[in-house]
């Protein structure tokens, strides 16, 4: 494993940023501050952080409706994200996308996506671009266990393998497609077993264990970067919040919730890092304080930002339309 203590601090900061962002958004939503609806990533931080730690701005990711974590891990500006969730003109998408469509192509973030399973085909496209132009850019397609049952994911995995594209399919199996358990909706024992169908390496790891995700992603992304084709990494984990905010989560028992809290990916990371003497308590606390300020500043930034001008409805449909 190639983790320096600087990198350790970076990934810790990424995970804490995701957690604090989502907890804050949940609170703002409950207070009626935010329009629309939000799908929160808290609980899955180790996956986005562990995978994106191997990517640069030139690499691409496709995301899901639960995309805030991917955006943060890929380096999308926190102020612009918060303003987007608020629907303000300073948002990452000028307030036209909202929580479910936050994107920043310059950061290689090809968009959260409101359509389950839509990211697979898009990821084939950025993969094809890299292959056609002969660059070493890698694309990671994040998708949920629910999306695993969409035909688009089958088509995309097959096409990516036929064309030997520099892609990694990362399945975030949080156990539920909305309220429907994976054990019910998925006929396979492991989603990663489906890699066999495409002659693609498939592995299942504990998605609450940053180090396990980091190692599996390192191997898969390395393979893609060397031109050796796609891989499938299934990360098993959980989400703290419902499918969307307001979901009463009746499909979780109290025991389930307790078991999840005991598997908290950030606590897990801290414990291991401290035990191994890789980081100090003081360094972690410093990050916590810094990130808390970043999130509060983002909320202030969003609140103080103007709404988009009404004429913005009509722009950005086309580059040019006579």
């Amino acid at each position: 494993m190639s983790l320096t203590s600087e990198k350790m601090i970076d990934v810790y900061e990424t995970m804490v940023k995701i957690r604090m962002f989502e907890d804050r958004v949940a609170k703002l939503f409950a207070e009626g501050e935010l329009p629309g609806f939000v799908h929160l990533y808290a609980g899955e931080e180790a996956i986005a952080a562990g995978v994106c730690a191997h990517l640069t701005d030139r690499d691409y990711i496709t995301s899901t409706h639960r995309g805030h974590g991917h955006c943060i891990a890929k380096g999308v500006d926190i102020n612009a994200m918060m303003a987007e969730v608020y629907g303000r003109g300073t948002g990452a998408c000028k307030g036209k996308g909202g929580s479910m469509h936050i994107a920043d192509v310059d950061k290689g973030m090809l968009g959260a996506n409101g359509i389950v399973g839509a990211g697979g085909p898009l990821a084939c496209g950025s993969g094809l671009m890299a292959k056609t132009l002969g660059t070493d850019q890698v694309t990671v397609c994040f998708f949920g266990d629910g999306a695993a049952e969409q035909g688009t994911m089958h088509e995309a995995m097959n096409l990516a393998c036929c064309w030997a594209l520099p892609l990694v399919f990362v399945c975030e199996n949080n156990g539920f497609a909305e309220t429907t358990p994976c054990v019910y909706h998925c006929s396979a024992k492991n989603i990663s077993d489906r890699g066999v169908a495409y002659d693609m390496p498939g592995v299942t790891v504990d998605g609450t264990d940053f180090f396990a995700v980091y190692e599996a992603a390192e191997e898969a992304i390395g393979r893609a970067r060397r031109g050796e084709g796609p891989s499938l990494v299934e990360c098993r984990g959980f989400r703290y919040y419902g499918h969307f905010e307001g979901d009463a989560m009746l499909y979780f028992t109290e025991e389930d919730k307790e078991r999840n809290r005991a598997r908290d990916p950030i606590e897990n990371f801290k414990k291991r890092a401290l035990e191994r003497g890789l980081l100090t308590e003081a360094a972690l606390t410093e990050v916590d304080t810094k990130v808390a300020r970043i999130i509060e500043d983002a909320v202030e930034f969003a609140k103080e930002s103007a709404w988009p001008a009404p004429e913005e409805v009509f722009t950005d449909v086309y580059v040019k339309y006579p």
Binding site: C93, K96, G97, L122, K320
Partner: protein, 340 residues
């Protein structure tokens, strides 16, 4: 510019060839666009099995190699979506969706992804892709290989929709579509592939959204597109013999649509007939009639007429399919009825 007579099929092939020479980021993919991918006796010798199901992309794999002319699995969602992803990250893909009737298996990638990315991302992305697709009845290809359906695409904000009628237009419009920075759906009527026309040898472009008056006339305006342009011109000849002077406006693209050309013609002739091979409800035909009713009502001397396919799927039997397709006779009799 030197011209010669070539077919509609050759004109489309030539547009792709010249644009691929001009810009290394232009690539073509789809089912059997070359054919025989990976087979040593084909790929090794630069041969194609088909060059597209009706031979439209013949010779492109030989010239540009199979890294730029890629056969795909029968996975329309995956490769249309790949076109969107590739376009938003730096290529100019041409994706061939064999028949428009197949859009049902991949429409999400067209209308939720390709058409909306730019808007959803606040203008920070562009999707310069072309989807080429065959349309049209008359091929005895039955209900799932024969429709037009272009009206559905024109309905979607973010897409441009082009329907050429002649080899000259096809080449110039396709070149424009490939250079365009927005997603363009380019429809090719399969019964036009063997039609011929004068086409310049060099590259040229025809702007999207500019109609072409295919026949000048003073008394009745026919607004049409695609194969129906030829039916309308034939009808206009017959009507001329009866002393009725018809103007034929070929829209060429329906999103953007050249509203000025339609209105200018109707203000001159005071009457409108729309000839459209698509189905009639919420269609191009109704759209053009609504435009004229809204903006040129006072100029009309007669009710606007629509000649369209019926509100049915396309039947297989030749006798039935011939009833389905708008006919020259119907155009003639409809125009005459306006004059009574």
């Amino acid at each position: 510019m030197a011209t010669r007579t070539i077919t509609f099929r050759e004109a489309i092939n030539e547009a792709m060839r010249l644009e691929m020479r001009r810009d290394p980021t232009v690539i073509l993919f789809g089912e059997d666009v070359a054919g025989g991918a990976s087979l040593p006796h084909m790929e090794g010798e630069n041969k194609e099995a088909w060059g597209g199901v009706l031979g439209v992309s013949t010779g492109l794999a030989a010239e540009f190699g199979r890294n730029r002319v890629l056969d795909t699995p029968i996975s329309e969602s995956a490769f249309i979506g790949a076109a969107v992803g590739a376009a938003s990250t730096g290529l100019r893909p041409i994706a061939e969706l064999m028949f428009v009737d197949f859009f049902g298996v991949c429409f999400d990638q067209i209308f939720n992804q390709g058409a909306k990315l730019r808007y959803m991302f606040g203008g920070k992305a562009q999707v310069p892709m072309v989807i080429r697709s065959m349309i049209g009845a008359g091929f005895r290809a039955a209900a799932q290989h024969s429709e037009c359906l272009y009206s559905i695409f024109a309905h979607i904000p973010g897409l441009k929709t082009v329907v050429p009628s002649t080899p000259y237009d096809a080449k110039g419009l396709l070149s424009s579509a490939i250079r365009d920075n927005d997603p363009v759906i380019f429809f090719e009527h399969k019964l036009l592939y063997d039609t011929e026309g004068e086409v310049p040898e060099d590259n040229y472009t025809i702007p999207l959204g500019v109609a072409d008056i295919k026949r000048k006339g003073k008394e009745v305006t026919i607004v049409t597109l695609g194969r129906m342009v030829h039916f309308s011109l034939e009808a206009a000849e017959k009507l001329a013999a009866d002393g009725i002077d018809v103007e034929v406006v070929d829209l060429r693209s329906i999103s953007p649509m050249d509203e000025d050309a339609v209105l200018t013609s109707v203000k001159k002739t005071h009457s409108l007939v729309v000839v459209d091979e698509d189905n009639p409800r919420c269609s191009l035909a109704t759209d053009v009639v609504a435009l004229v009713a809204d903006q040129a009502f006072d100029y009309l001397d007669a009710p606007c007429k629509m000649i369209t396919a019926p509100h049915t799927p396309v039947p297989f039997s030749p006798t039935l399919e011939d009833v389905y397709i708008p006919s020259v006779d119907t155009i003639v009799s409809t125009v005459k009825s306006l004059r009574k």
